[in-house]
């Protein structure tokens, strides 16, 4: 029962650790990385559902970043378990609903439906890799500082920072309570409905007390409604080159089917 909790705490810590490493990608400023990530996702998503070969060329962005930043690919792929189910559910019927033959390999017919399904799943994987790479190379404080720069209200950004701070603390408390429960209810797999209310309810009440202490703590350090954020360094030439370079690459890849071009060069 507490495996999910342990796993979540592990996931949170893992992203921190990855983001705290050093590599040329980590050194790029957060704003540039965010911009490139958003551009990448938008362009990947914009490929039409049959343009599998064109889409495939976009793999170079995550490939290069994984290589240069030394972030492990397996960690990323393991995170697929969250969104892939819904993507699959949406796409899995495509081959059945769309049976226009696209090409034939011997006796096996590849239909456009199959292609659109594969395209959909590939898009899913690519987009996930892009946001994973962003968070694996950028610390949360840097992300928050960028959010402030794009005028996300400071109230919301502070809320994000504080929640992030206490997410692991609360998860641990839940883990402790869950273990305590399962030690006294060895046959059960989850929380029995007779305890539904009090289990989370108790935690909730204790959390409200914690919130009060936290507030006191903030007041005692002079809190009057303002929060301060880590200042990210300003854009440098390196960041501009990084952003411009990748975005131009994405636009070029989107404009011309480079995959087919390469194939043509070889098969000529």
């Amino acid at each position: 029962m507490s495996r999910t909790i342990d796993q979540s705490i592990h996931d949170l810590r893992e992203m921190d650790e990855l983001a705290s490493k050093a590599s040329p990608i980590h050194a790029i400023c957060a704003a540039a990385k965010l911009l490139v990530t958003v551009a990448y996702i938008m362009i990947v998503v914009s490929y039409d559902k049959y343009n599998m070969s064109g889409l495939l060329f976009m793999v170079f962005y995550p490939a290069v970043l994984f290589a240069v930043s030394e972030v492990p690919v397996t960690t990323c792929l393991y995170k697929l378990r969250f969104v892939l189910p819904l993507v699959c559910a949406v796409g899995v019927l495509n081959p059945f609903l769309d049976r226009t033959p696209a090409l034939t390999a011997g006796s096996f017919v590849v239909t456009t439906g199959m292609i659109s399904m594969v395209t959909l799943m590939t898009k899913g994987v690519f987009c996930l890799m892009a946001s994973f790479l962003l968070m694996a190379t950028t610390r949360i404080e840097a992300v928050c500082s960028v959010l402030r720069k794009i005028h996300v209200p400071s109230f919301l950004v502070t809320l994000l920072l504080l929640t992030y701070r206490y997410a692991a603390v609360m998860a641990e408390e839940v883990g402790v309570m869950t273990n305590a429960y399962s030690l006294r209810a060895p046959g059960q797999k989850g929380i029995h409905y007779s305890a539904w209310g009090s289990f989370l309810g108790q935690l909730l009440l204790r959390s409200m007390d914690r919130a009060e202490e936290l507030y006191s703590s903030m007041l005692l350090r002079g809190y009057r409604g303002e929060f301060y954020y880590t200042e990210e360094r300003a854009w440098s030439a390196k960041d501009a080159v990084y952003a411009a370079g990748w975005i131009l690459f994405f636009i070029a890849a989107r404009g011309v089917n480079l995959t087919r071009l390469i194939g043509m060069l070889v098969t000529r």
Partner: protein, 361 residues
Amino acid sequence: MHMADALLAPGVAATMYVASGTVAGLSVKTLTKDENTQKLPTMAVASALVFAGQMINYTIPGTGSSGHMCGGMLLSALLGPQAGFLSMIVVLTIQCLFFADGGLMALGANIWNMAFYGCFVGYYLIWRPIMQSNLFGNMEPRKAQRARIIAASLIGCVVTLQMGAFSVVLETTLSGITELPFGAFCALMQPIHLAIGIVEGLITAAVLTYVYETRPELIRDVDLTAQSAEGRNSKPLGVVIFTLAMLVVLVGGVFSHFASGNPDGLEWALFGNEEAGYSANMGLDEENFGVSSQVADSAASIQEKTSFLPDYAFADSDSAMGTTVSGLVGSAMVAAAALAICFAGHFFRKRKPEELDPAVK
């Protein structure tokens, strides 16, 4: 219900960001209007709690399965709709950024689907009217309030989750991602989320009842003096029931429209029709598939709709599906190159020792 980026077209994603962003901005304005600075720590702890609470496994009696809690209704019952909404935004953002549960571009849509309905619709149309109404007025006041909490939680969770699920279907369909006919997609999503909604409603009801018994002042719209039923107003509840009924009729009408597969009804000027050159039956081989024409027509109508929506292909608008040999060969080469890059990185990594940021342990 977390959507991935791949399920949305940029236009739809952007629209949802604008919608969610606007509501978020307004919520911040409302909350920061008064000078009460205590809200922030309370909301942060509540968000962290919901985040952790979503990992709790609630066993559903009778079945072998378990339920989980989303938290929208719970948060708005404790913090109010605006604070609840912002707290949910933060929970969803952390899930997106750190757990890849939901895409970065889809965050706006996820916020709308999971937080907006739960917090605003759930609070203003369901929680508050029920809590302030005369429902269960014949019971002893404290029991009546408890019953109202249970009713509001249940109805709130079921309705808001249905709305959320329906939005997912709408957004995905409008993005032209799936071949699934609208009706079939709904038939897939709605019943599942009905079950999820009931379970979440029961969990929320249980937690709120517990809090009501121990610290009722934490819950919104609870009458702390537990007066008798006199003087309570049933009117808001009547308005709510009427509004919800109209919503059901409207949604049901749209739903059945799509599901009926009536091609005439779907000849919307916006989406083109057969005369304009779009095949009524694109891609479907009725003989082999053996599907009734109803579904086929629905699929066709969706095809028409999606083929008319702006195509984001800048150049290369023909279906570059790799049908040609060059496309296939190119794909193979691209894949090989990508793998090579990954291995190269790994290879070079082994050569030099890992440089750690000196500031981190």
